[in-house]
Amino acid sequence: MSLRVILIDDEPERAAEVSAALRAEGFTVVGVLPTGADVPRQVAALRADIIVIDIASPDRDVLESMRQVSFGQGRPVVMFAEDGAPETIRAAIEAGVSAYVVDGLKPERVRPVVDVAIARFAQFQALRSQLDKARSTLAERKLVERAKGILMRRRRCDEAEAYRQMRKMAMDQKSRLVDIANKIIEASEILG
């Protein structure tokens, strides 16, 4: 029988990707929940075998409480990595995901679910940091352009010369071009 997975993730785009990947591997995604959706009840109602949760969700602490029999609600779950695989926990934390498994399931049965989740979360993170980098590069380029314009006006030089001067300043001061650009912009704002 196919394993029943609940995914708790506040990022709809990532949740969709992870669910699709899990379904493609033959798992059944029985629920995609946002944070704060009464996890203990959902885990019991949806008869989940494994819960994959975004590490940034505070609901992790709610899942932990389900291990305690005295809470008497839903089924006890344990973190998958409990049975001695610190590399898996490390990889999961780095990717930004954690997984809880209903007690009694064999680790080798659930490992593929965790592996898919880790891979997809990691991919999403890499994509986002690329995007952030692309955005900041664009922003940096705009700053450099502005600083170049200021130098051209103040020193009455052409664009190539302004750029050369900025490069030299960056090298002399051992700083990045964008930091030099920032300094030029700041100085010109102060001096008017």
Binding site: S57, P58, D61, I89
Partner: protein, 318 residues
């Protein structure tokens, strides 16, 4: 001075003040430490990151290093607590709905309700859990049958209370103050009024970090201790509230944070000296709640985990 880089985890609460202030007011830098503070959304995350070495140290519930050593936590880790950070901040708030049905908020009246009220705690093996059990027991209530205890992450407490999903909670600040501020409930008991002098948060690190003399431990303890002292001065409370309320930390209204700081004590032999007697008391409560078997050597575990010797060494040199 050469800087040692450290990454320290915290959960956004009023009693994270010493760590936040140590960074913002330069106490870490003064002691040669370059500290990155990592805001963690859950105690579970904080524990896992500390266990896996993503964090060098962390603010922790006073009960957590004990629960970790006992294997109650999902990840068994050997931790030590060389410094206490705060006490006196926890409180029990009941919602206006529940209070209306109670005789002036007297806890004994909880037993007469038609259905057991749902009360929330922030974490299974938390100081709050055991404190709430004491409060209930003091009123002659059975925490297993006459109330239903659930775990709700602190930032969700007030929303759940407002939605009527929980009837009350035992939590740290600023969440009691926020519920009161919004007119959703009343603080019926400050924990320190029925359990005086209970340590609430500690600084924890992995035991293996003590190996090789741990050269950065002393500057770390001294920096945090200096920040504890600074936070505790009444004339600094407004500034502490101002720093804490900012987006990277609590991201909460300053007047609520300020009110939340009122009861908390950050400096003195209590809370700073991590007395194994405190650990022993919590272990006794864990046993009473059925979380720990009576067979374990509680005194040995308390002495191994709470380390007043490490604290003492650094105080002596101050």
């Amino acid at each position: 001075m050469p800087h040692t880089s450290l990454k320290i985890g915290f959960v956004p609460l009023c009693d994270s003040a010493p760590l936040v202030v140590a960074r913002e007011r330069g106490f870490f830098a003064e002691h040669g430490l370059a500290v990155d503070l990592a805001r963690e959304p859950s105690w579970s995350n904080l524990r896992d990151k500390l266990a896996c070495g993503f964090l060098d140290a962390a603010q922790m519930l006073a009960t957590m290093p004990l629960a970790c050593a006992l294997g109650l936590e999902n990840l068994r880790t050997d931790l030590v607590a060389p410094l206490g950070l705060s006490c006196g901040g926890n409180a029990i708030t009941l919602g206006t709905g529940l209070l209306a049905g109670l005789d002036g908020g007297a806890p004994a009246a909880l037993a007469d309700l038609p259905a057991p009220p749902v009360l929330a705690i922030p974490y299974p093996f938390s100081t709050h859990h055991y404190e709430l059990r004491c409060w209930l027991a003091g009123a002659g209530l059975d925490p297993e049958r006459q109330v239903r205890l659930v775990v709700v992450p602190p930032p969700q407490m007030v929303a759940r209370l407002s939605a009527g999903q929980i009837a009350g909670f035992c939590v740290g600040e600023p969440w009691n103050s926020l519920a009161v501020h919004l007119g959703l409930g009343r603080v019926v008991a400050a924990v320190r009024d029925f359990l005086p002098e209970r340590l609430e948060k500690v600084l924890a690190l992995r035991r293996d970090r003590l190996e090789g003399g741990a050269p950065c431990l002393e500057p770390l303890l001294r920096a945090v201790l200096a920040a504890c002292r600074w936070c505790d001065a009444p004339e600094h409370r407004d500034e502490v509230a101002g720093i804490l309320s900012q987006p990277p930390y609590l991201n909460a209204p300053i007047e609520v944070v300020r009110a939340g700081l009122e009861r908390i004590r950050f400096h003195g032999d209590m809370p700073n000296r991590p007395d194994p007697a405190q650990a022993l008391w919590y272990l006794g409560q864990m046993e009473r709640a059925g979380h720990v078997s009576g067979a374990i050597d509680k005194a040995a575990l308390a002495a191994r985990t709470y380390r007043p010797d490490l604290y003492g060494r650094c105080v002596e040199r101050l």
